[in-house]
């Protein structure tokens, strides 16, 4: 089942650097730890945290989201396994310099499969194919624009 990506970046003051925020839905069928991991991964991909920056402690983030500390610990473990973070006792989670890895052969197949499942889910809610395709084109455009900026 595809997992909704929940991300919001807010700018508290027009001269201040935006403070990254994450948002989860504890009523969703997607496990909370996976929502947290997905949201943090999106921020890491977007470069919201400099390399070497510490993330909030497990207990701090657990208090902020109102979830058990094991939920946050699991999310951090997922991201550490993917190479985004290093977990150090007494230092918490530190952002790593994760250069773009070589994707495995099945990554693209998996992506296409997940996109098909996502569109089927969207159609089941009543959205028209045109709306779905337009939304996907918009996301793709933003993604490509981001790639061109880095280049």
């Amino acid at each position: 089942m595809t997992e909704p990506l929940q991300l919001s970046i807010v700018c508290r003051h027009h001269t201040m650097k935006p403070t990254p925020t994450i948002r989860i839905d504890v009523g969703s069928s997607v496990p909370a730890y996976r929502q947290v991991a997905n949201a943090l991964r999106a921020l890491l991909v977007a470069g919201s945290f400099p390399v070497g920056a510490p993330l909030p402690t497990v207990r701090q983030l657990a208090v902020d989201l109102g979830v058990h500390h094991n939920t946050i610990a699991e999310a951090y473990r997922v991201l550490a396994d993917e190479g985004w973070l290093i977990l150090r006792r007494r230092h918490g989670a530190i952002v790593l310099d994760r250069s773009r890895p070589t994707p495995p052969p099945e990554a693209r197949t998996s992506l296409v499969q997940r996109l098909r499942e996502l569109t089927a889910e969207a159609q089941a809610t009543g959205l028209s194919p045109g709306v779905i395709a337009g939304s996907m084109r918009s996301v793709a455009t933003q993604l490509t624009a981001g790639k061109l900026k880095k280049a």
Binding site: P20, T21, P56, V63, G66, V67
Partner: protein, 342 residues
């Protein structure tokens, strides 16, 4: 009598404003839809509560005015407080059928916490005041009166005395240190171990400002305690026993003024916010609030302190085992000063 009447009015104003300083989705301690407050039924409940609060205040005023003898302030204000609590509980009971399920969305900022108001120097200020008072008393020990007042009534007249001794002289300063340390710990815990219900948009900015107001009020209370106890040390201990000074009016009024000002400030902040985006709910379910919404017990909530559902400030999450440790430490700390004189 004028002082007593003034305090009755101040107390009534505090209770009148208490339900109005919570977020829009909390009404008399019950989670409701943000638009509920604007409905006629909600306005009717608020109106009835206000009438009951002021009726109780008027009854207290009438009792004090009609009494042929001076009335002790404690029982009158306590009775007024109990009456207001009953009025609140009645209003809460009336709101309960309109309770809404809390939203399941949770938000969190990924970044460092802001500092306590005023920074480290401002936070250490009350302790420096108390230390200076203790040093002054120690330096001029010989000049301290053999007997000096240590307690004043609402009218500012001394009604409790202590003989000169090490424990008697320094008890006030010790009480001040203990109280300020407890409040500093509370401020730190509020900043680091409580949750902002919303962090994005206008509501998020409002939540941060409200927390700032609460932390500033705690700091102001620390300074008030430190200055009061410094005054009792530096002024009253060296006063003429035949004519001890009255407790200055600012010290008697300041606690109530602090609560009123803080309440009004939060009330103004709450009115200027507008909900944006999907609802972001209080993570403290109605079922975990007891005693009319004053006690919070939720083992599943990792927070040590949570926002109160009425009035200003925060309350301990008694479902968190650490909260009991905090209570025990506070109780032990508060029992030290009285034992000094034993």
């Amino acid at each position: 009598m004028g002082t007593m009447l003034g305090f009755i009015v101040l107390l009534a104003v505090s209770f009148h404003l208490a339900p109005q300083v919570t977020r829009r989705d909390i009404f008399f301690g019950i989670t409701v839809s943000p638009a509920f407050r604007d409905r006629p039924v909600a306005r009717s409940i608020s109106r009835r509560y206000a009438i009951e609060v002021w009726t109780i205040a008027l009854a207290a005023v009438a009792f004090v005015a009609a009494s042929p003898m001076p009335v002790p302030s404690g029982p009158v204000l306590l009775t007024q407080t109990l009456g207001a609590c009953v009025a609140f509980a009645r209003a809460r009971h009336t709101v309960r059928p309109y309770a809404a399920a809390p939203a399941t969305i949770r938000e969190a900022e990924i970044g460092p916490r802001s500092a306590l108001p005023g920074g480290i120097l401002a936070q250490l200020g009350p302790f420096l005041v108390l230390f200076a008072a203790a040093a002054y008393v120690g330096l001029y020990w010989e000049d301290i009166s053999a007997r000096f007042p240590t307690h004043w009534n609402l009218a500012g007249k001394p009604d409790g005395w202590t003989a000169k001794s090490g424990a008697g002289v320094f008890r006030g300063v010790v009480v001040g240190f203990v109280a300020c340390a407890m409040m500093l710990f509370t401020s730190y815990a509020v900043l680091h171990w409580t949750r902002l219900p919303r962090v994005t948009g206008t509501d998020g900015a409002q939540s941060r400002r409200v927390r700032r107001v609460n932390l500033t009020a705690i700091l102001a209370a620390e300074y008030l305690i430190a200055l009061l106890l410094a005054w009792t040390s530096v002024v009253s201990m060296f006063s003429d026993p035949a004519g001890p000074p009255r407790l200055p009016l600012p010290f008697r009024v300041a606690p109530f003024a602090l609560v009123i000002i803080g309440t009004v400030a939060v009330r103004v902040l709450r009115r200027t916010a507008a909900a944006e985006g999907p609802p972001v709910g209080d993570t403290t379910p109605d079922s975990c609030w007891f005693v009319g919404g004053y006690l919070y017990v939720n083992r599943a909530d990792p927070a040590l302190f949570v926002e109160r559902r009425t009035g200003l400030g925060y309350t301990l999450n008694l479902g968190n085992p650490l909260s009991w440790l905090v209570l025990i430490v506070f109780a032990v700390a508060l029992s030290v000063p009285p034992l000094l004189g034993a």
